[in-house]
């Protein structure tokens, strides 16, 4: 299927600083809103409160309440307003505080936003960006901790973005804002304080281009969003036992850079897929299938996958910690795949 990138890669020209993931998000939003007056942000507590995560702090002071709009707690309603305003000349950014609330907005997202362009024979466009969060271990229990990006990745017509570093967050968010399609952008709420190098000024990262976060030779670990840091930590553990892991971050699940995933698995001959969504029917299954199909004759072991445990996320900290992949659990499976256990 032809899925053009509406934004080509644009390299940074200015200086690089160390800032947080949250600051990178805010910077991308502010720069884009300065550039394009048709962009507005709508959501619960997005204005003076700057969201509970304080990611949007300062935006309402610069852009005013006409463009940074506090809404009622009406996820379906604001998503619907986003769809209609996107169809008629605006570029809405809808803030859904927790990914767990996507279910409330779901009809507007998957029956309306995702289908308008196709159902209208290509005449109408929905340049809607929906920002939301994922990730457990914040001790917020079963309705504020899920990673539901597989839901939206299932629906043709939506694009799905999973940044894992401050640099990726800024560049991918700019691409998402400029895309003419509905895009769902997941931010790991535990990662807002993660620091990393981010260029000042404008740059974009195209969708559908995976990033090799660490080069290795013995095993490919495909990791998304919150799991990239886990996979990098696992790679350190593996290095101690002489296993060289390559960490590949798809960065977007739709479109998916199948070529890079397959090429890496062919090179290392082993693959493990790690993601914080529920393991059952999760995106780990889709990615594992892509690798198994594309690299079958090069593989020395079955493709393995690790997702979140198939239980509602428990409140009790020791129980919650059991439900998500950790560096140790990832390293352990990788060692098994490499025949080192």
């Amino acid at each position: 299927m032809f899925m053009p990138n509406t934004v080509a890669e644009q390299k940074p020209r200015e200086g690089v600083r160390i800032i947080t993931f949250g600051q990178a998000i805010r910077e991308a939003l502010a720069e884009e809103m300065r550039r394009d007056p048709s962009i507005f942000i709508m959501g619960e507590d997005v204005a003076e409160a700057g969201t509970p995560f304080k990611v949007l702090s300062g935006l309402v002071e610069e852009f005013g309440t006409a463009r940074v709009i506090d809404s009622p707690i009406s996820e379906a309603g604001i998503t619907g307003i986003g769809v209609g305003s996107a169809m008629t000349g605006l570029r809405p950014i809808i803030d859904i505080m927790f990914g767990d609330f996507l279910g409330i907005a779901m009809d507007q997202l998957f029956n309306q936003a995702a289908k308008v362009h196709y159902m209208s024979g290509g005449k109408l466009k929905v340049p809607l960006l929906l920002r939301t969060t994922l990730g457990a271990t914040r001790r917020t229990a079963a309705q504020h901790s899920q990673s539901l990006h597989a839901w939206v990745s299932h629906i043709p017509g939506l694009k799905v973005v999973l940044p894992s570093t401050p640099y990726d967050a800024k560049g991918l968010l700019k691409t998402a804002i400029r895309d003419d399609n509905p895009v769902v952008f997941f931010e790991d709420k535990m990662m807002y304080q993660l620091k990393g190098p981010v260029p000042e000024g404008d740059y974009t990262i195209p969708f559908g281009v995976a990033d090799i976060k660490r080069i290795g030779t013995d095993i490919t670990i495909v990791a998304t969003s919150s799991m990239v840091q886990i996979a990098l930590a696992a790679a350190d553990i593996l290095a101690q036992s002489g296993i060289s892991a390559e960490i590949v971050d798809p960065r977007t699940t739709v479109p998916l850079d199948t070529a890079t995933l397959i090429a890496s698995a062919k090179k290392t001959s082993r693959a493990l897929v790690v993601d914080e969504g529920y393991e059952q029917y999760g995106i780990t299954a889709e990615i594992a299938s892509v690798i198994a199909d594309g690299a079958f004759y090069y593989l020395d072991a079955p493709v393995k996958r690790i997702g979140a445990m198939n239980v509602p996320v428990p409140f009790s900290p020791p129980l919650e910690d059991m439900t998500v992949p950790t560096a140790i659990s990832v390293a352990k499976v990788a060692q098994t795949l490499c025949g080192r256990v």
């Binding site: 009622p72 009406s74 307003i81 209609g84 605006l90 809405p92 362009h117």
Partner: protein
């Protein structure tokens, strides 16, 4: 089940008993009559196409409700927006869509408004401001409110009309967006076509309280009118549109009406949910075309030869549209995965 409290045609349409004073001239009334007739005859042909297995899918006919689509859309400009429903052929035509491209879409043909990819339940035509019919009953209420939000933010004076039926009153999205439309004084008019039936169930079995009170609770100006009488629908709508255009906020217009056919063409055995007598009474006493024609005749604005001439013209246009669609090609097969992404 057959609802015991089914109101008769008279009692459900008493909210407005007289047409408002208006300055509509003969040409305008004639045009509205012609538009209503076009919808009626269009739907007759949809029925024929469907029952002769030439039209795939589902067909939800608008016959009986024509005064609402035409009365409402006649009060709009071409650049105003509408959103429509699964029972949307009337809205689409009244907003200015052309018959041939509509029939082509209904048959899934390449020249259709959406290249045949949308069909009867999803026709959209951005050139006439139609943001699309929707097969989720309250699904378009968000889109309509968003379009109104957009007009306000872009500083245009466009108005959006959101058409929906009594069935949509059961979905929560409507109340979320009415709340925001009122808070932010958006130029949107919610037009509820109460044709008495949520599919196969009388609305009184599904709808608690008073319908208008739901919109009033949000501080939205609400009016309830006889949706069969275009002489009431049109001037009421003109007033609400002007108000919205001048920044005075949303309105909710409850139009009492009746669906002549079943929920869809295949819904033929209807006796278990509504009586034949009720259908006949609405058709003989409350038909929107007959009501306008009778009034115009009484006022000596219309005579039999003119009626005949209009019908002749409309039938010719529609028959040509049907022939166009029947002869049109299906989309090329490689269209199947085009337009998924912009």
């Amino acid at each position: 089940m057959l609802h015991p409290k089914t109101p008769d045609a008279q009692s459900s349409t008493v909210a407005s008993v007289h047409a408002e004073a208006t300055t509509v001239d003969r040409e305008q009334w004639l045009h509205m009559y012609e538009q209503m007739l076009k919808i009626r005859i269009f739907e007759e042909h949809v029925n024929i196409l469907y029952t002769t297995a030439k039209m795939p899918g589902l067909a939800h006919l608008y016959s009986g409700e024509e005064a609402i689509a035409v009365g409402v859309c006649s009060a709009l400009r071409r650049d105003d927006y509408i959103t429509s429903t699964h029972r949307g052929h009337g809205h689409c035509l009244a907003k200015g869509a052309s018959v041939d491209l509509m029939f082509a879409e209904l048959l899934g043909k390449e020249p259709g408004y959406c290249k045949g990819k949308g069909g009867s339940m999803h026709i959209a035509d951005q050139n006439t401001g139609n943001l699309g019919a929707n097969a989720i009953v309250a699904g378009s209420t968000g889109i309509a409110t968003g379009a109104a939000f957009s007009s306000k933010m872009r500083g245009t004076d466009q108005v959006t009309v959101c058409f929906f039926g009594d069935g949509a009153l059961g979905q929560g999205l409507l109340y979320e967006v009415m709340n925001m439309a009122s808070l932010w004084k958006l130029p949107v008019i919610y037009v509820c076509e109460n044709n008495l039936y949520n599919e196969y169930t009388h609305y009184l079995e599904t709808t608690a309280g008073e319908i208008s009170a739901r919109a009033r609770a949000f501080g939205i100006l609400t009016e309830e009118i006889d949706g069969q009488d275009i002489r009431i629908v049109y001037p009421t709508m003109q007033r609400l549109v002007e108000r919205a255009r001048h920044g005075e906020g949303p309105a909710f217009l409850l139009c009492n009406t009746y669906r002549y056919h079943g929920h869809h063409v295949g819904d033929i055995q209807r006796a278990y949910y509504r009586a034949k007598d009720e259908e006949e009474q609405w058709q003989s006493e409350r038909d929107p075309l007959q009501l306008l024609a009778k009034w115009m005749t009484d006022q000596q604005l219309l005579d039999a030869p003119t009626v005949e001439q209009i019908e002749h013209q409309v039938r010719a246009e529609i028959e040509a549209g049907v022939a166009f669609a029947l002869n049109a090609p299906y989309p090329e097969l490689d269209e199947v995965n085009q337009d998924v992404y912009a």
